[in-house]
């Protein structure tokens, strides 16, 4: 009890250690995963984020437009675990968990991050060029599992039914062998 007494008495004459929070804003520490920011211009609608999201907080609505598709993303922050998987899996850095933690709202809409990606869908179908070395990177990256590569038989094939023409494989190919044919 004596040490407590000493601490209590000395505290009486010290400045309080309380942060004057609402008046002075406090920044979160670096690496804090707060409110999700979504950059629609970077997104290419691969859908990886939707797949890895464990609480299913991301909804994707597709609208067909003349030049392609408008993909509306909604990140429901009241459903999010802030694990950061979507951020990690997004190759294009279109998703970012910012350090903004001010997520108290009376209106549910204030807790939804949304954005639209305007995607121009290529007309042609995915084809593989001569340069292919059958490295299987494209198959591994493909969010839909549409590409099959047999390294021993040296066969590259794509299931056009499954392919959404997102272009992940095209940018992943080290040899630039993939393209959407005319």
């Amino acid at each position: 009890m004596v040490p407590f007494a000493r601490v209590a008495l000395s505290n009486l004459f010290k400045k309080p250690s309380t942060r004057n929070f609402p008046r002075e804003n406090v920044e979160a520490k670096p690496g804090y995963r707060g409110r999700i920011a979504y950059y629609g211009d970077k997104c290419r609608n691969c859908g990886m984020c939707v797949k890895v999201c464990s609480p299913g907080a991301i909804t994707r609505t597709v609208t067909e437009t003349p030049e392609g598709k408008d993909i509306a993303f909604e990140f429901d922050l009241t459903s999010c675990t802030f694990c950061g998987m979507c951020q990690d899996f997004c190759d294009e850095k279109a998703i970012e968990l910012t350090a903004d933690y001010h997520m108290a709202a009376t209106d549910h809409k204030d807790l939804i991050t949304s954005g639209v990606a305007h995607i121009r869908v290529p007309k042609g179908q995915l084809v593989c060029g001569e340069d292919c070395v059958y490295c299987t990177l494209c198959a591994r990256k493909c969010p839909e599992g549409a590409i099959t590569v047999d390294r021993t038989e040296k066969i590259w094939s794509v299931d056009h039914e499954k392919c959404t023409k997102c272009g992940t494989c095209v940018s992943a190919c080290p040899k630039k062998a993939l393209s959407f044919g005319e």
């Binding site: 250690s17 999010c80 933690y101 009376t106």
Partner: protein, 147 residues
């Protein structure tokens, strides 16, 4: 005569009752952290009440398991008006990672009107203070509207 005083005091002395409906305890310890010297929510008159009868703000955390559903409803009823319901974290609003489980009866919105929801898994204590502060202001409004 006293109406304005009472309404003004409502925002200055909100007492919190905390219900855990199967939370992982993350939100709960953060709520307690709000009362520690670093954050000191008592500056605004916040106090943890021991019983719903004393409460102004009910803080719900956890994804409303089917075992706790009835108890949650009953406890919410027992809080005298004006009251404000605050959800803490993602679970009570959506079920978070437990969504779709057979034993989860979320969201809380099904049972009561949620006035403030604090997002985060878990929310930062500052966010909780912010949310509770908002709730206190709502409390004042509700008191003003009451006859």
């Amino acid at each position: 005569m006293f109406k304005k005083m009472i309404a003004a005091a409502g925002a200055k002395s909100p007492w919190i009752y905390h219900i855990n409906t199967g939370s992982c305890n993350g939100c709960d310890i953060e709520l307690v952290a709000v009362l520690t010297p670093r954050y000191d929510a008592e500056r605004f008159g916040f106090k943890l009440a021991g019983t719903p009868r004393h409460a102004d703000i009910v803080v719900v955390s956890g994804p409303v398991t089917s075992q706790s559903k009835e108890r949650l409803i009953r406890t919410l009823e027992q809080v005298p008006e004006p009251k404000v319901v605050v959800t803490l974290g993602s679970c009570p609003k959506s079920g978070n990672v437990f969504k779709g489980s057979y034993s989860i009866e979320c969201p809380v919105d099904k049972y009561t009107h949620v006035d403030v929801s604090i997002a985060g898994c878990t929310p930062k204590p500052e966010a909780i203070i912010e949310g509770l502060y908002t709730a206190a202001q709502i409390l004042k409004e509700k008191r003003r509207e009451m006859k």
